[in-house]
């Protein structure tokens, strides 16, 4: 008997019995190896309280929802890690394991081929053709103009019987803007003016349009939608392709894992 008490195996079994007894007594309320995840009302309260502690205000509904998704993700990765035996019983290890599982997912991304980039561009063409080019004339008339006078001047401009110099206010930006990308026009006139160009008819005086400087009459000669060419944006495409690949592979792996789980979440108050 004495000898038996010194046997490591016996110690191990005794320990196991204790753990078993614990779960038997208190119930397997949070068995880390089950595929059941329940985010209950008390969990949501805790998540909300954590958020308040760091931001000193009530989180919005969307923020709570995002935090819950994050908690679910963390739980899934955590359990998967446990299944792989990565734990050593340390309380702090939990978040670490989840992160670790995540980084294991980050498989190496190589350099995309031209064919891959072309395909990527075709699929996401809208993302790269959101810019237009414009060529236009503008007449800056300052800030404090009256709408009646504006109308009169616009009519005069359209009829061609107004002396342009008589209405111009000084501003050292060229009256003629040659065909330019939107990014260049934003640099000169700011973004609200540039956005407004999209809604203006071509080949006729319009306005006044407001920029940060004040009011402008505008005459658009040319408007081009930029069709992105692979050679012009190769680098940007390549960067974006890599980012997408990483995100996609992470999502794929996570989706495969989460498929195994049945997740129920209480409504957010």
């Amino acid at each position: 008997m004495q000898k038996l008490l010194k046997e490591p195996l016996v110690h191990f079994l005794a320990g196991a019995m204790l753990i078993f007894a614990y779960f038997w007594a208190f119930g397997p309320s949070n068995d880390p190896l089950s595929y059941e995840i329940t985010i209950g009302a008390s969990d949501i309260d805790r998540i909300t309280a954590d958020s308040i502690r760091t931001s000193n205000r009530l989180p919005t509904h969307e923020e709570v929802s995002a935090l819950i998704d994050q908690a679910v993700k963390e739980e899934i990765y955590y359990r998967e890690a446990l299944r792989l035996g990565l734990d050593d019983g340390d309380a702090i290890i939990r978040r670490r394991l989840s992160n670790k599982m995540r980084s294991l997912n980050n498989s190496e991304i190589g350099t995309p081929s031209d064919a891959q980039l072309k395909q990527f561009l075709e699929k996401n063409v809208a993302q790269y053709s959101d810019q237009s080019r414009y060529a236009f004339d503008h007449i800056y008339i300052g800030r404090n103009t009256s709408s009646n006078q504006d109308k009169e001047w616009l009519k005069g401009l359209r009829d061609g019987n107004l002396n342009v110099d008589s209405i111009k206010a000084p501003l050292s930006i060229e009256d003629k803007q040659p065909l330019s990308d939107e990014s260049m026009i934003i640099r000169r006139f700011g973004s609200s003016f540039t956005d407004a160009l999209a809604g203006i008819k071509m080949n006729i005086w319009s306005g006044p349009i407001e920029s940060g400087f004040g009011q402008h009459f505008v005459y658009i000669h040319e408007r081009q939608n930029i069709t992105p060419k692979l050679d012009d944006i190769r680098q940007r495409l390549s960067n974006d392709w890599r980012t997408q690949q990483i995100a996609r592979s992470e999502k794929q792996i996570f989706d495969d894992l989460s498929k195994e789980y049945h997740i129920s979440i209480a409504p957010i108050k």
């Binding site: 931001s55 980050n106 190496e108 800030r143 404090n144 050292s172 000169r188 940060g212 960067n239």
Partner: protein, 628 residues
């Protein structure tokens, strides 16, 4: 103890094994970019962005890397670490990621290390557990780090450069790959760079260091760290050796002289001996520009130094009482070594004394953000670091201390600054060269366009053709007035508002000079202004007025002017006195960032909080030297 440190280092290095991304994409050259004859465009950038590779940025919670910083600067929408959706309305043209060379990547590596590898190292283990326990724990670790760095009490594994060489080498190479991938000559320029952070006793002697060259060339050296030397002359020697060995080029940008306790622009060298000609020449060569404004306050001047300047208090509150770590109080007698304007004057003094001017610098602004996100508009201020991002309701009134001692609050931090660079193209070479010739200026955020030319025979008529006359008959900001050919220097100056910001109040010329007796003086001339105002008997121009509506966070551009331009001749010129002239442009009053936070979350700011400010630009000076 030594053994444990090595163990920690090994663990940290192992954890940082980066995926084998080869230098597959060759450095793209900029030979196809056409340079304009003279700079036609001002390019906007931030030379001072920290990512999660900076030891403190990671500790403060930043989880955004170099790639996120690049994407944001280039104009893409990026979610800040704490969830705020951030995007610039206008992209930046260039960026320098300037992570701290000291213990580069150390907190990230520690955080990601397997805990078992740290067993036995109680010091590292404690920080490790604190960081993983909670955000507050991570913040405490960071405060201890800054304190430890100031006091020199950090363990070897954080301070011994050799022990960290493997980790830093891998990280620096990986960083280079990303920088190279995002550098697009003609469209967006990404520079290699790092920050050198000597901080003896918490006195800030920090420099951003940037390369003109490809990542491949920059990767031939490791970032030079304050752990190798606290004496900036050793940094300059490192720069010289790099240039000699590679044919490349580097420059260093001092910043936050405001918390240097008078040591950034000292009359003495680091060892306390007086500055001599060799030191002065080397410093002027290595440090052609300084960062005069950023989130941690403004360093142009101080009311104590410039009592007749009614705009000298900008960005001073909270930063003039104690040094960076708040470990030492700073006396007003130290200020002359802490602010740019007085340093320019000291430069004239030293030139007279030793024959060379160490403080012949141009000025830029940059953010020093530790969130990876370079946005310094008041309305969308992302914060100094990730623990005070916009999702924190009362970040403007909470204590925000970098060390462990109290004293600064959120609102003391400025949403400032950017660098404006008059370059001939948007390439590494053109932008770097413009910095070397100091054709650059600082702004506190708004992208106002400022031109400044000096010459001997400009006339009032030349204003109509300011740029071509300026280059043909004079020198731009940063230049020297030589070959005196008239009674007094003449200047052509223009400033155009940022169309996404506010009207301009006025243009001022700030003059500093040295008298025959060796004493220096400064004077401010109002040279152009908006609205119907007249200079009073006291020589001052009346204030432009104030249209700010604090409840709405708005202002009206009915006061001030969209554009100001003028010809000016120095009315008090003495040909025997060396002098400098720089331009300061002031916007009309607008709300500060805490006002927008208060509106967003519906709370009231205390009386002590500065709610209205006049944003501004400082150009590099033009110097006059009596000897020609």
């Amino acid at each position: 103890m030594q053994k444990y440190n090595l163990l920690l280092t090994a663990a940290v290095s192992a954890a940082l094994m980066v995926t084998g991304c080869s230098q597959d994409e060759k450095a793209k050259d900029s030979s196809h970019i056409v340079n304009s004859k003279h700079p036609e465009e001002v390019f906007w950038g931030d030379t001072h962005v920290h990512t999660d590779n900076s030891i403190d940025a990671f500790g403060f919670g930043n989880r955004l890397d170099t790639e996120a910083a690049m994407r944001f600067a280039r104009g893409e929408k990026i979610t800040a670490t704490k969830g705020y959706e951030a995007q610039l309305s206008q992209p930046l043209d260039f960026i320098v990621i300037a992570d701290h060379a000291a213990a580069l990547g150390a907190t990230k590596a520690l955080y990601n290390a397997p805990r078992v590898a740290l067993l036995g190292n109680d010091f590292a283990l404690r920080w490790y557990d604190m960081m993983h326990e909670s955000e507050e724990g991570s913040l405490r670790v960071t405060a201890e780090l800054i304190d430890g760095a100031a006091k020199g009490t950090l363990p070897d594994s954080f301070t011994n450069q050799e022990a960290q060489a493997e980790r830093i080498g891998d990280l620096w190479k990986e960083h280079g790959n990303i920088v190279e991938r995002y550098n697009e000559p003609g469209k967006f320029t990404a520079f290699m760079g790092f920050e050198y952070t000597p901080m003896p006793g918490g006195d800030n002697l920090h420099r951003v260091v940037m390369f003109r060259d490809s990542a491949e060339k920059a990767n031939s050296v490791l970032p030079f760290s304050s752990q190798q030397s606290l004496d900036v002359e050793d940094l300059w020697a490192y720069m010289a050796a790099y240039e000699k060995n590679t044919g490349g080029q580097m420059l260093a940008i001092p910043h936050n002289s405001n918390v240097s306790n008078g040591r950034m622009f000292s009359m003495n060298k680091f060892d306390g001996s007086p500055i001599d000609a060799a030191y002065a020449k080397t410093r002027a060569l290595r440090e052609p520009i300084i960062e005069a404004t950023q989130i941690k306050g403004d360093s142009e001047t101080h009311p104590f130094l410039s009592p007749n300047d009614e705009f000298s208090a900008y960005g001073v509150a909270g930063w003039d009482k104690a040094n960076l770590s708040a470990g030492r109080d700073m006396k007003p007698s130290s200020y002359a070594g802490s602010y740019a304007r007085s340093a320019l004057k000291r430069g004239l003094e030293l030139e007279k004394k030793v024959g060379a001017n160490p403080y012949k610098f141009g000025m830029i602004g940059s953010s020093d953000t530790h969130t990876s996100l370079a946005d310094v508009r008041e309305k969308s201020f992302i914060g100094k670091h990730s623990a005070n991002e916009p999702t924190v309701k009362d970040r403007s009134t909470l204590p925000q201390n970098l060390g462990t001692r109290q004293g600064r609050f959120g609102w003391h931090y400025l949403s400032s600054g950017y660098a404006g660079v008059w370059a001939t193209s948007n390439t590494r070479e053109a932008i770097f060269d413009a910095m070397i010739r100091r054709e650059v200026y600082a702004t506190t955020g708004p992208r106002m366009k400022v031109r400044f030319f000096g010459g001997w025979d400009f006339s009032a008529d030349d204003v109509r053709d300011l740029v071509s006359k300026g280059y043909a008959q004079g020198v731009p900001m940063g230049g020297d007035l030589t070959d005196k050919s008239s009674d007094a220097p003449t200047f052509l100056i223009s400033a155009m508002m940022d169309p996404e910001s506010a009207n301009l109040d006025r243009i001022q010329v700030v003059k500093g000079w040295i008298n025959a007796d060796g004493s220096t003086q400064e004077k401010i001339f109002n040279v152009a202004w908006g609205g119907d105002r007249k200079i009073g008997n006291d020589g001052k121009l009346p204030a432009v007025g104030n249209t700010v509506d604090l409840a709405k966070g708005t202002w009206s551009n009915d006061i001030g002017a969209a554009e100001l331009m003028t010809f000016w001749q120095d009315p008090e010129f003495n040909a025997d006195d060396n002098a400098f002239y720089y331009v300061r442009v002031l916007e009309i009053p607008t709300p500060t960032w805490p006002v927008y936070d208060a509106i967003k979350y519906g709370f009231t700011l205390g009386d002590e909080v500065i709610k209205i400010q006049q944003e501004r630009a400082y150009t590099s000076p033009i110097w006059y030297n009596a000897k020609g």
